[in-house]
């Protein structure tokens, strides 16, 4: 919680779960408290205001069976949540979050690999016969991959680079054709094995495909990340049945499982996001609720100050609203708000979406500003409700794109233990950092 | 009210002295008592007053910290008594040129503010508690001497001194017994209590600031306060207890001092 006057202490995960349970027990059968009318805000229509005023609604969604799953959802452990929730809206949302996170990693990879290739080529001496050419080649060809579009043909420039790599190093097998989904994923695995950069290389798969990516229990777990291998987006869609996000948003009543712990304030925000962006990766970045708050523009250039102003403007709306909300709701509602840090969490998720948008629009400095304001510094090295995995993937990407290769490693190191798949990315970016530092003198000082 | 202050003050001072004796006898090892895993415990039956953020027993450190100022306070008192009382008595009883010389010399010492004098000497000779004590005693000697001088020169001119002499009492005894012990005892004790309070303030503030006073890991109420103050989510007693101890002891010393009156004063 980032408000000065009501910052509660962070309870550990188990404690949070316990508190949620206690709250639920306390509020089951409780009467809904009347809606406050003192200062009305557009935010009063949000799901946070709803459950704060009517804690039993929350209990309705988070029942005894699914409590652990929702706790996982709250803490950003989306894979756990997706496995624990029954098929339906909740699971679809967990899978969507996971998919977006994987795509964030894919974006990071698609920045890191070409950077590595370009840097490697720019240093026109000391060609190595190590795995670098392979990685560079994959970087080039997988630059525009997206899970739903499949592999596109290399552009002319990419092709030229590929040729250069092939001729210069002779390491990339001549005539390697990279034209299929399976083969690309397979190559990624091979690369990891060949490069020897991971302790446990996946099995080489050249020739003995296909991998049944959809089959339960056969999670393909490459150590160099490849988004194509993670068909989570497809799963997310399947969990919703035939109904799309947009439709679902308008139908749901009450829409709590669609919104709980998410960055969208209302179903209107959700359907706006679904309409604006088919990938749904920027839910919460815009929508009717935020528009009503009259937040300033980011400005036309990649100016971090403009981003900071925007966050300050958001805080100026959220802080008094939250304070007012805490004053008016019942003790159960207050406990929900403070124990789960709901407002702070949504704030963090909105900044995350803004950062993602900024990165898509080639404004990495602004993205950095958003992310630095989103991160909960007190527990900056652990994942949690305010620090979801995407935060670190995005921060690493923003760092990389602003030349801070070494800092990207710091962010990635947080993900490494819970998500071993980033090991390969970590090595790639590590190589890039080393490459950039070749021939430099370092400086060191005391203290 | 005055009686209550005096009585409770005396009890506190007696407790401080007792604490000091206990700390000298207990042999608490300040170095060994570090347990980060037990950091910030709140008071409980197993650890009275809880632990600080290094897991050290606050109660034991509080007791042990009395060594930081009681010993030096006593030394300082002895020094200021040895220097201040005889010179004050001599100048007060004899008067004349000897009083002039003595009072001039003390005025020179007193012209340097006490705190500055202590810092100055510590800067030259290091901040050993013994040095601190001697200097604090020296810093208080002029005041003590002057107070004794004033009182004795006032008493000296009274008829009873003549009468005492007429009874055949020797001058030394007249000064030591009739004038000093009977006439100045409360005044001297008051000064000594102020000196004790001064030493406590000096020691705790120097230790709080660090550099001069008692250095970690040896405890002083001052460095205990500095060490714990501002620690989030810690044991509030870890800094409140020394702060309270400082306040209580100071209040006791000054309270007792201010209730001391010359008995039977005409």
């Amino acid at each position: 919680m980032r408000s000065a006057q009501t910052r509660p202490k962070r309870p550990p995960a188990l404690l949070t779960a316990g508190l949620v349970a206690a709250t639920l027990t306390a509020c089951s059968g409780g009467q809904p408290t009347p809606q406050p009318t003192a200062t009305s805000s557009v935010l009063d229509g949000s799901w946070i205001a709803q459950i704060a005023n009517q804690p039993d609604l929350f209990g309705g969604v988070v029942d005894v069976d699914s409590r652990a799953a929702w706790v996982a959802m709250h803490e950003g452990r989306w894979a756990d949540a997706a496995q624990a929730l029954p098929p339906g809206v909740g699971r679809a949302r967990a899978e969507l979050e996971l998919a977006v996170f994987y795509e964030d990693l894919a974006d990071l990879a698609s920045v890191a690999w070409p950077d590595l290739a370009a840097t490697w080529l720019a240093r026109d001496s000391g060609v190595s016969d190590g795995p670098m050419p392979f990685l560079a080649a994959v970087a080039v060809i997988s630059r525009d991959h997206h899970a739903d579009t499949g592999l596109s043909a290399p552009t002319a420039g990419q092709q030229a680079l590929l040729t250069a790599l092939q001729t210069e190093s002779g390491a990339l097998p001549k005539g390697t054709a990279l034209d299929g989904l399976d083969q690309a994923g397979c190559l990624a695995g091979d690369l990891a094995r060949l490069s020897g950069q991971s302790e446990q290389s996946p099995q080489g798969c050249r020739g003995d495909l296909p991998l049944d990516l959809d089959a339960e229990g056969t999670w393909y777990d490459p150590l160099v990340y490849d988004a194509l291998a993670h068909q989570t987006r497809r799963r997310a869609d399947r969990s919703l049945g035939d109904v799309g996000w947009e439709q679902r948003a308008t139908q749901a009543k009450p829409p709590l499982d669609l919104l709980l712990f998410g960055p969208a304030w209302t179903t209107a925000d959700l359907s706006a996001a679904a309409a604006a962006d088919s990938s749904m990766s920027t839910i919460g970045a815009s929508g009717p609720t935020l528009s009503a708050l009259h937040l300033p523009d980011e400005g036309p250039t990649d100016e971090p100050q403009a981003a900071r102003e925007r966050v300050r403007a958001l805080d100026r709306e959220l802080d008094p609203w939250q304070a007012h909300l805490l004053d008016t709701v019942s003790d159960d509602g207050k406990a929900l708000l403070t124990d789960l840090q709901l407002v702070a969490q949504v704030r963090s998720r909105i900044l995350l979406a803004w950062a993602r948008l900024a990165l898509h629009n080639d404004r990495p400095h602004q993205a950095t500003a958003y992310l630095l304001l989103a991160i909960d510094i007190e527990s900056a090295r652990t994942l949690g409700p305010l620090n979801p995995p995407s935060l670190y993937a995005l921060a690493a990407q923003a760092s990389l794109r602003t030349g801070r290769t070494r800092e990207a490693l710091d962010y990635l190191s947080v993900l490494e233990a819970p998500y071993p798949i980033v090991t390969g990315l970590d090595e790639t970016i590590g190589d890039l950092a080393v490459l950039e530092g070749l021939g430099r003198h370092g400086d060191s000082k005391e203290n | 009210m005055t009686r209550l202050v005096a009585a409770s003050g005396r009890i506190v001072l007696a407790l401080v002295l007792l604490t000091w004796v206990v700390s000298l006898m207990a042999g608490y090892d300040v170095v060994a008592d570090v347990h980060p895993k037990l950091a910030g415990l709140h008071p409980s039956t197993s650890s009275l007053l809880g632990t600080d953020h290094m897991g050290r027993s606050v109660a034991w450190r509080l007791v042990n910290a009395s060594q930081a100022f009681v010993g030096p306070g006593l030394v300082a008192a002895a020094v200021s008594l040895l220097l201040g009382v005889p010179t004050g008595a001599l100048s007060g009883y004899r008067g004349g040129w000897s009083a002039g010389v003595i009072r001039y010399l003390w005025a020179v010492v007193a012209s340097v503010p006490r705190f500055v004098l202590v810092l100055l000497v510590c800067a030259i000779y290091g901040s050993d508690p013994a040095v601190l004590a001697v200097v604090a005693g020296l810093a208080f000697a002029p005041g003590l001497s002057e107070a004794v001088h004033t009182r004795i020169s006032e008493l000296r001119s009274r008829e009873f001194v003549l009468a005492t002499r007429a009874h055949g009492v020797s001058p030394l005894r007249t000064v030591a017994w009739h004038l000093l012990w009977v006439g100045c005892r409360a005044l001297v004790l008051r000064q000594v209590l102020y000196l004790f309070a001064f030493v406590l303030v000096l020691e705790t503030s120097l230790s709080y600031i660090g550099g001069f006073g008692i250095e970690e890991p040896r405890p002083s109420w001052g460095n205990m306060l500095a060490f714990e103050f501002g620690v989030h989510d810690g044991n509030p007693w870890a800094w409140a207890a020394p702060a309270l101890a400082i306040w209580l002891t100071l209040a006791a010393a000054i309270g007792v001092a201010s209730t001391l009156r010359e008995r039977g004063r005409a």
């Binding site: 510094i377 602003t402 290769t405 021939g439 003198h441 000082k445 203290n447 | 980060p36 800067a123 660090g210």
Partner: protein, 514 residues
């Protein structure tokens, strides 16, 4: 222990304390003044002798190099305008930027560059920065705006190494520059800010250098010495400061919840260590060092001072050079006893002794190293319980420089190294390294460090440094402790803040006030 300097500095602390309070009550800063806090004001403002981060930060405002990082951390010309490489890559001809003047009005010329390089190379200059120019054979000023550098061997990207600050030749008598040169208190640079005055309260006032090509957004920058770190966060919140360079971990929560304050990560790839004096008995003996290292419970030392990663070698854990295969020392009393007995010590229940003399050591720590007190107290307790007597000595800046940097007069030091993104540990561990005051020498480490410096193969460099990690862990010239997250805090009144990950003020010209 020389008690005199310690005491005088405490005297300074004492006098500074009321001043501190005065600031808190003083009127708000003048328009466009940034006041930032350092634990201790640098005694020397001369980039040739900068050994601490506070000095490096200050130098960044006052001086410029030929090249510097742009905001994307790419090398870009600063005092240089353009450069030509010879075809054999053995020579570089740099054309200087036109119209640049020193803060005293004298033009910056090629001669200043040649002079600075010569001064750094001069054996009479006892600088720790020598290593930065030993690859340059000779620098010659061709004319006022052209300087030619000859290299020792071919260089691929020499501009990456030309970040060192250029000094004004006309301010010095010769190229042998002493630490005590009057320049240290009266520095003249070409940077965006110029030093106005050293003030009685330990602060240093700087104002915008109007002759600089990029007009700085701030009128003034003031470095304030706030030796008690506990006050720093408060001064920031009471708006008596605009910036804190490093926030104490314990203050993070309260600053983060303050909407008037913004926190910026200031990761300087720094790690803490306990360094042995390898010139001294009994620390010459690796068995004693290993035994001591095994006695120390690093995680228990770390627990009271914050969250961080404990390390096994001279790199931060997220570094590509960190060797994850190296196991941490395990506290095994039997092994410890074995090692010490091999080294000739016996313990009959009253501590380890050799020839009747107890195994004792003094831990020296810099007074301004935050949380050092906790670490040292903890260490003392840990070692004492295992039969080693430990004395503690907190040194102030002057005593630290004298006994650690100059005289190498210590047993064990607790300190922290900060590295820029290259994480170049050569100066610390190479037998000829200028910051190798432990006296560590290992031929294999020297070879690997040379290899890491010279190779053009990233894999090879990575492997070499990972091997160095293993070797220095096994040789135990230091006990590697941990790395802590660090943040700087700045008032939201300061706009357009982007801080350099190491030098902090590199882009301060852009900073402006609301």
């Amino acid at each position: 222990m020389p008690s005199r300097p310690t005491s005088t500095s405490a005297l300074g602390t004492l006098t500074a304390l009321p001043l501190c309070l005065c600031w808190a009550l003083s009127a708000p800063a003048q328009a466009s003044e940034l006041r930032y806090a350092e634990d201790q004001a640098p005694a020397i403002v001369n980039p040739l002798f900068a050994t601490t981060m506070s000095e490096a930060r200050l130098d960044e405002l006052l001086f410029e190099g030929l090249y510097n990082d742009n905001k994307d951390l790419a090398t870009s010309p600063d005092l240089a305008a353009s450069a030509q490489m010879s075809s054999d890559r053995m020579e570089m001809t740099i054309t200087m930027r036109q119209g640049v003047t020193w803060q005293d009005g004298t033009p910056v010329t090629a001669n200043d560059v040649a002079f600075t390089i010569a001064a750094m190379k001069d054996k009479g200059t006892l600088s720790t920065e020598q290593g930065r120019v030993d690859w340059i054979d000779e620098a010659t000023a061709i004319d006022d705006r052209t300087v030619r550098l000859r290299f020792v061997r071919p260089e691929a990207r020499p501009e990456d190494k030309l970040f060192f600050k250029i000094l004004p030749a006309h301010r010095f008598d010769g190229t042998a520059i002493k630490r005590t040169d009057p320049f240290r208190t009266n520095p003249i640079g070409s940077g965006p800010f110029k030093l106005d005055s050293y003030n009685d309260d330990g602060s240093i006032s700087m104002s915008r250098y109007e002759g600089h090509r990029d007009r700085a957004g701030l009128d003034q920058i003031t470095m304030r010495e706030v030796s008690d770190k506990n006050y720093q966060a408060k001064l920031l919140m009471y708006e008596s400061l605009e910036a804190l360079v490093r926030v104490l971990p314990r203050d993070l929560a309260v600053l983060q919840s303050n909407r008037k304050v913004e926190l910026y990560p200031y990761q300087t790839n720094s790690w803490w260590y306990l360094g042995f004096n390898l010139h001294r008995d009994p620390f010459k003996d690796p068995r004693v060092r290993t035994a001591l290292a095994e006695m120390i419970d690093v995680d228990a030392l770390l627990a009271p001072i914050g969250t961080g990663d404990s390390l096994t070698g001279p790199f931060v854990k997220s570094s590509p050079f960190y060797n994850h295969q190296v196991p941490a020392f395990v506290n095994d009393p039997i092994q410890v006893a074995d090692l010490l007995e091999q080294a000739g010590y016996v313990n009959n229940g009253d501590g380890w002794k050799k020839d009747g003399k107890p195994l004792t050591l003094t831990v020296s720590a810099h007074k301004n190293l935050e949380s050092a007190q906790e670490v040292v107290i903890n260490l003392q307790s840990q070692l004492q319980s295992q039969g080693v007597t430990v004395q503690v000595d907190f040194l102030d800046e002057a005593a630290w420089r004298a006994s650690v940097w100059r005289d190498r007069d210590y047993d064990l030091i607790l300190s922290q190294w900060s590295f820029d993104r290259n994480e170049d540990i050569r100066e610390q561990f190479h037998s000829k390294g200028s910051r190798n005051f432990t006296g560590y020498a290992n031929k294999e480490v020297d070879r690997l460090l040379d290899l890491a410096r010279d190779t053009m193969d990233p894999q090879e460099k990575k492997q070499a440094l990972r091997d160095v990690h293993k070797l220095v862990h096994d040789d135990v010239p230091m006990v590697f402790l941990w790395t802590l997250d660090s943040y700087s805090a700045m008032s939201t009144d300061i706009r357009n803040v982007v801080i350099h990950p190491f030098y902090f003020f590199t882009w301060a010209t852009d900073w402006a006030m609301q």
